[in-house]
């Protein structure tokens, strides 16, 4: 009786204490970087109802770019396989939403989900064939898939024959804002999760030496495919929000320039890190939305030079430089 009583007492005490303390422990275990990103996301989410329309537009475009950066970070940043044609997923997602909304009249949010599935399926198809090969072949295969997609879309009457699909769904800027916010938040959570524990260790081994990782029993092909499918899905979903925001899908959605922007964001920010894609999105997208009107070619020239310098001399991007020279900042920038 005494034993049962003490067990009950302990159980009750545990139940009373656990919820707040586990939450607090969980929050502490996130680490300062994830906490910081979480706070920024919470502020962005909370600001939603009181934002003026101009800021809505700015933030939606920024978050679409950030979502693309986190998406390409999942495959290129985590594994080192350069995905040159990442825009193909964004474009496929864009057309999935546009087609679903115009031909079947589905709700745009369902269109975003369908776009995510389209992107993931496409990534599965390309990934099964090419992820077994070395990095350069993968880069080329993704690039030509993106180009082939432009030609296929431009020649298909059901997809507007190259002149695109236009639709008008009314003023839905709030829904769009929270759709891309949710996507971005889940990507950041996923990135955080992937960099920890077994998967994170496996990834680090894979990036340093693929053969060695294979030899110690990591299922390298499955790990790469898993990340690529997730990456394709998120890129597709973010691309569909872009289309929804623009109320139209054109073959221009497959423009190589988007691929290059996505890649530049993670190279500049820091590949395979949690905060790098965010920093890269700020560096690439904010000047584009503010200074672009002055000199359209100026920004890509600067970004091209930055990419060369960072690739050759400062691998690790902005996050890598700060972590190298300011050891105290390491905890805050993962």
């Amino acid at each position: 009786m005494r034993i049962i009583g003490s067990v009950w007492f302990r159980f009750r005490e545990m139940r009373l204490r656990t919820l707040p303390s586990t939450l607090w422990k969980g929050w502490r275990s996130l680490g300062p970087t994830a906490q910081g990103l979480g706070i920024v996301l919470a502020v962005l989410g909370g600001l939603g109802p009181v934002l003026p329309v101009a800021l809505f537009v700015f933030l939606i475009l920024f978050m679409i770019y950030a979502a693309w950066a986190y998406s390409i970070n999942l495959i290129t940043g985590m594994t080192g396989y350069v995905s040159f044609g990442h825009v193909v997923f964004a474009g496929a997602g864009a057309y999935a939403l546009a087609y679903g909304v115009t031909a079947w009249g589905i709700h745009p949010l369902a269109g975003v989900v369908a776009a995510g599935l389209t992107g993931a399926l496409l990534a599965l198809g390309v990934g099964v064939v090419t992820l077994r090969l070395r990095g350069a072949y993968f880069a080329i295969a993704t690039l030509v898939t993106a180009l082939a997609a432009v030609y296929i879309v431009s020649g298909t009457p059901a997809l507007g024959d190259g002149s695109g699909i236009r639709f008008y769904l009314g003023f839905q800027i709030g829904t769009q804002y929270y759709a891309i916010w949710t996507l971005l938040a889940s990507e950041i959570a996923l990135t955080w999760w992937v960099t920890r524990g077994r998967i994170g260790l496996g990834l680090r081994a894979l990036r340093d030496d693929e053969d060695a990782a294979r030899a110690v029993g990591i299922n390298v092909p499955r790990l790469k495919l898993f990340l690529y499918v997730l990456s394709g899905g998120f890129a597709g979903a973010a691309g569909s929000v872009f289309t929804w925001f623009n109320s139209s899908a054109f073959p221009d959605a497959f423009q190589l320039a988007y691929s290059l922007d996505m890649l530049a964001m993670i190279i500049i920010g820091g590949m395979g890190t949690l905060s790098g894609p965010w920093i890269g999105a700020v560096v690439v997208n904010v000047p584009r939305q503010t200074l672009l009107k002055l000199l359209p070619q100026g920004q890509p020239i600067v970004i091209g030079l930055l990419v060369i310098l960072i690739a050759l001399f400062l691998p690790g991007g902005i996050v890598g430089i700060i972590r190298k020279y300011i050891p105290e900042a390491r905890r805050y920038l993962e």
């Binding site: 090419t130 090969l133 080329i140 030509v144 296929i152 030496d209 290059l260 890509p300």
Partner: protein
């Protein structure tokens, strides 16, 4: 349905086009095969070669064949400079090219591509320019073809044959091939790795830029700073088809792609013909990742 005459005509056009594609892809093939590095800015150097031909034509009225010679000399200089600026730091002292090197060079040359496209757009604008080169027509196998295409095709074959002779019949060429097969063994035989890699890169660039000059004959819509976005992927496809480092692979791959694009257009819309040529890479990578040549 297509009649035989149309089919034969598109076959002849396809072969002529494919030979020029082969010359362009050959530069990429040589660099990839020897240094194991993929130059993501390949298309931008094709574009610079094409602009070179245009400006030489504008200044001195040179035709693309002569311009290709000057482009090749320029390409040699640019290529050696490119080697020391981009590849030397990564390749120096390495006896096996790993994943890390591959990624760093891909990303750095990608930055170069972004830089070059936008600098040339700023300098020469996006509006296309063209040059006049029309030496008349000839009849080839019952098909009337423009003589310009024939000359350019012969020049392309000449470039590929000259490379073959250089690589198999000269001391330096043998050193290049030895380096591409086994860096350690080549060094033991007294080959200086830096000289050989720089030379191969320079030659690759010379061919790329000369190929860009020859290509101007086929650029009906004109030369624009972004033509590399089409012709670089075509070169990648050709090299993957033939297998990187296999010198006849460029010719086989080039003619395959050229014929495929021109013959398929008889049956299906142009857009799908191009898409099919690009997507050809996926089954080839799945079934024969070393290329279709044994």
């Amino acid at each position: 349905m297509a009649d035989p005459a149309t089919l034969v005509a598109s076959l002849v056009y396809g072969i002529l086009l494919g030979v020029v594609f082969a010359a362009i892809a050959h530069g990429l093939n040589l660099i990839w095969g020897v240094t194991k590095v993929v130059n993501a800015a390949h298309g931008e150097f094709i574009m610079l070669g094409a602009y070179g031909a245009y400006f030489l034509n504008l200044a001195w009225g040179l035709d693309p064949l002569l311009a290709a010679l000057i482009d090749a000399a320029l390409g040699m200089i640019v290529g050696v400079a490119f080697y020391f600026a981009f590849l030397h730091r990564e390749l120096r002292g390495k006896e096996r090219i790993g994943h890390q090197t591959e990624m760093v060079t891909l990303v750095a040359t990608f930055g170069l591509a972004l830089f070059l496209v936008n600098v040339t757009t700023l300098a020469w604008s996006m509006s296309p320019v063209g040059l006049r080169y029309n030496p008349g027509n000839a009849v080839l196998g019952g098909v009337t073809v423009p003589l310009g295409g024939v000359y350019v095709g012969i020049a392309s074959l000449g470039i590929i044959a000259a490379t073959h002779v250089f690589l198999t019949r000269t001391y330096l060429g043998n050193a290049v091939r030895a380096y591409s097969q086994d860096i350690t063994a080549a060094k033991l035989m007294g080959v200086n790795p830096t000289t050989v890699a720089a030379l191969a890169t320079g030659l690759g660039f010379a061919m790329t830029m000369a190929g860009g000059a020859l290509l101007t004959v086929y650029l009906r819509v004109g030369i624009r700073p972004d033509i590399g976005h089409l012709y670089a992927p075509i070169s990648f496809v050709i090299v993957v088809l033939g297998g990187p480092g296999k010198m006849w692979g460029s010719l086989v791959g080039g003619i395959t792609v050229g014929v495929l694009i021109d013959v398929l257009q008889v049956f299906i819309p142009t857009e799908f013909a191009y898409a099919a040529a690009f997507l050809l890479v996926i089954p080839v990578l799945a079934l024969a990742p070393e290329g279709i040549l044994r």
